[in-house]
């Protein structure tokens, strides 16, 4: 390619490159930052019997005076209210507890699955990955409804347990925390298995041979080599499951009972039942702040992984 050619082609390509780099930012601004700022603003407002159901409303027609009175109308009252009522605190706690426990269960179940997948013959692995993501081909909601059916009083699970003589009385599953755990673990399993599989699959087999060569039996090499090296996958999988699980609404709403009030349901109640948009928004903002911490840890880990590669 001649120099003249190069200099002509270069600026155009870099413009496209810039666009490609900036597109995700534009996306984040439009679909994350702007909505978040709107929610943040509502969380600082007061409820009102109006349309929309809060004041003040940002209105440029009022001029400088209007803007000033708008800012004067904002307050942190809703956050103070969240602190005064233990309902919210308990709801957050419950959400974190359910999400954390589910994540641990997902790890315990997902790790052996991912590990077994990497041990399968090469040709089988593609099929196994397909099987892991196969449930996504059915609507999430339908799958949760299916679980409602499975877990109901005279559902397949209880009939199986009775047939196997494992229980005398059919246990109650629906509207319990157990059902919520079942639902979350079932729904989120692919999000745990896939990052774990991706990490374990990259693991250099010669590292395990080196460990064996240096006198380390196979089971011990798993703890000394495989586990530490799969840490990025464990962290990625755990965060991919933990973060959405905290805000989970559908599963606790359909499978859980009134006692499993997770934060998603609290927001729903405030928003739709109580028509209290500002409080609902405040609950949502606090949730985002709570989740930023694990996201930052995740980012940090990913960057470290990239640097190492």
């Amino acid at each position: 390619m001649s120099d003249a050619h190069k200099s002509m082609a270069k600026p155009r390509r870099s413009f496209v490159a810039k666009l490609v780099v900036r597109l995700p930012y534009a996306w984040l601004v439009a679909f994350f930052l702007v909505p978040f700022l709107i929610v943040l603003k509502i969380s600082l407002s007061q409820t009102a019997i109006a349309q929309p159901p809060y004041t003040p409303i940002f209105d440029l027609a009022g001029g400088w005076h209007g803007i000033a009175s708008f800012f004067a109308g904002l307050s942190l009252d809703n956050y103070a209210f969240l602190g005064s009522d233990p309902l919210y605190f308990l709801s957050y706690l419950k959400s974190l507890e359910i999400a954390a426990l589910s994540t641990v269960m997902l790890l315990v179940i997902g790790y052996p699955i991912a590990y077994a997948m990497t041990r399968a013959p090469r040709r089988m692995q593609a099929v196994l990955v397909l099987l892991v993501i196969l449930p996504f081909w059915t609507s999430f909601l339908i799958r949760i409804y299916a679980w409602m059916n499975i877990l109901q009083h005279d559902g397949p699970l209880n009939r199986l347990l009775l047939a196997l003589d494992l229980v005398r009385e059919p246990p109650v599953w629906l509207s319990t925390n157990t059902a919520v755990y079942i639902g979350i673990v079932y729904s989120y399993l692919p999000f745990m298995v896939l990052p774990l599989y991706a990490t374990l699959e990259k693991l250099d087999e010669s590292l395990l041979e080196a460990a064996a060569d240096l006198g380390c039996p196979r089971w011990k090499a798993f703890w000394l080599v495989t586990m530490p090296l799969s840490a990025p996958g464990v962290i990625a999988g755990a965060l991919l499951c933990f973060i959405p699980a905290v805000g989970e609404f559908v599963i606790p709403d359909l499978l859980g009972g009134s006692r499993t009030a997770m934060i998603g349901q609290t927001i729903w109640t405030e928003f739709f039942a109580n028509k209290d948009w500002p409080t609902a928004s405040a609950v949502a903002v606090v949730l985002v702040c709570l989740l930023v911490t694990p996201i930052v840890i995740f980012q940090h880990q990913t960057m470290r992984g990239i640097e190492r590669d």
């Binding site: 010669s206 590292l207 041979e209 060569d213 240096l214 039996p217 190492r308």
Partner: protein, 385 residues
């Protein structure tokens, strides 16, 4: 067998335990076979390696040399045969209990451990006290000149440094045999040359037995006391480097090691000449170990072919030299030596090489020049297979 050190007497060191039948080998491989499916990667192979030996497994890719090494390390399960270390069969012993260590081609350093952690890994498995581990790791790092790198992670090191960490890690347990799988393949050429000499020095100093797998023949010839040339799971020849080069036992070995001019013919009636070759009748140095009329091959190394304007001994009846007229087709100037591609009047291609020692050396012959090639009888290697 008094061939050690070769005709020219370039014995590297006075070390040839394989010639002493009173000595017991350290490692004895008997009828070892490893099949992948129906394909035998190692085929009924027998071999003895002696204490203190630097032994090279050399061959083209896919010849089974790495499989043989991995069988010794225990990463592959043998289909048949025995591997005896000090008379004890290693095959039932799992890899983590075998008193041999391996240096991997990829180095296989643990990326999550520091340099010191990598070197200490093997000692920790033995359950040694911490102070002793630290002492031995320190000694080992000093041996490979990495004293100040103990707290680094492998990804913070250069390729050459990583290679030395891998070496230190595989040596720290004082293995009965150190197995090296293409240990220098990832190094650049200059560093490889230096590392080869360092490795030899290290091996002599520690008095250990090394088995190295390599596809690089100059590397094998540099470091090894003996070379086993392998092809398709078989040992083609096991001998010191000079013997492999100067007295190959087959056309395959002669052709694989270095360059060679090969001529097919039949043993002459006098028993010390080969007739009917593409160059006519060739005189050889010694009595041929085959009946007159038997098919044989004459191999001549390019550096043994001398070029001149006249035949060496034009009229001699009992000539000591073989003379061939040829035309120069091409010269490859490599600096230290030049490779000459020639062709006889009958069209037989020949290759000669000459060290560029004098200032005029490369310019005395030009393309299309007619030259006489001659080589002494002793330079003609007769191969019966």
């Amino acid at each position: 067998m008094q061939t050690v050190g070769s005709k020219q007497g370039v014995a590297r060191r006075d070390f040839a335990p394989w010639t002493d039948h009173t000595l017991a080998p350290l490692l004895r491989i008997e009828g070892l076979t490893k099949r992948f499916g129906a394909y035998p990667a190692v085929d009924n192979l027998s071999l003895a390696i002696y204490p203190g030996e630097f032994f090279a497994l050399l061959g083209p890719s896919g010849c089974g040399k790495t499989t043989l090494l991995r069988l010794i390390a225990g990463f592959e399960r043998a289909s048949a045969g025995r591997i005896l270390l000090d008379g004890v069969d290693l095959l039932p012993v799992p890899p983590h209990r075998r008193p041999v260590n391996m240096m991997f081609q990829s180095y296989a350093l643990f990326p999550h451990l520091t340099v010191a952690g990598n070197v200490a890994f093997g000692l920790k498995q033995e359950g040694l006290p911490k102070a002793q581990i630290a002492k031995r790791v320190g000694e080992m790092l000093a041996l490979v000149h990495l004293e100040n790198f103990g707290s680094r992670k492998p990804h913070e090191l250069s390729g050459g440094q990583r290679q030395r960490v891998a070496l230190a890690r595989s040596l720290v347990k004082r293995p009965r045999i150190l197995l090296l799988d293409e240990p220098m393949a990832a190094l650049d050429k200059k560093l490889r040359g230096e590392t080869q000499f360092e490795l030899m020095e290290l091996q002599r100093r520690l008095g250990l037995t090394f088995i190295i797998v390599t596809h690089d023949q100059s590397e094998a010839m540099t470091v090894a006391d003996r070379i086993a040339v392998m092809d398709r799971g078989h040992l083609m020849q096991v001998a010191p480097p000079a013997e492999i080069y100067e007295q190959p036992n087959s056309r395959w070995v002669a052709d694989f090691i270095g360059s060679v001019n090969l001529f097919e013919g039949r043993v002459g009636l006098d028993g010390s000449s080969v007739e009917g070759t593409a160059l006519g009748r060739l005189r050889v140095g010694a009595k041929i170990a085959a009946e007159p009329g038997a098919p044989v091959w004459v191999a001549v190394r390019p550096e043994q072919l001398r070029m001149g304007p006249n035949p060496a001994e034009p009229d001699a009846q009992w000539a000591l030299e073989n003379d061939v007229a040829a035309t120069l087709a091409d010269v490859a100037y490599l600096g230290d030596l030049s490779i000459y591609r020639l062709r006889t009047a009958a069209g037989v291609p020949l290759q000669a090489s000459r060290a560029n020692v004098g200032p005029f050396a490369p310019r005395t012959i030009a393309s299309n020049d007619k030259v006489w090639l001659n080589f002494p009888r002793a330079a003609a290697i007769v191969l019966t297979q």
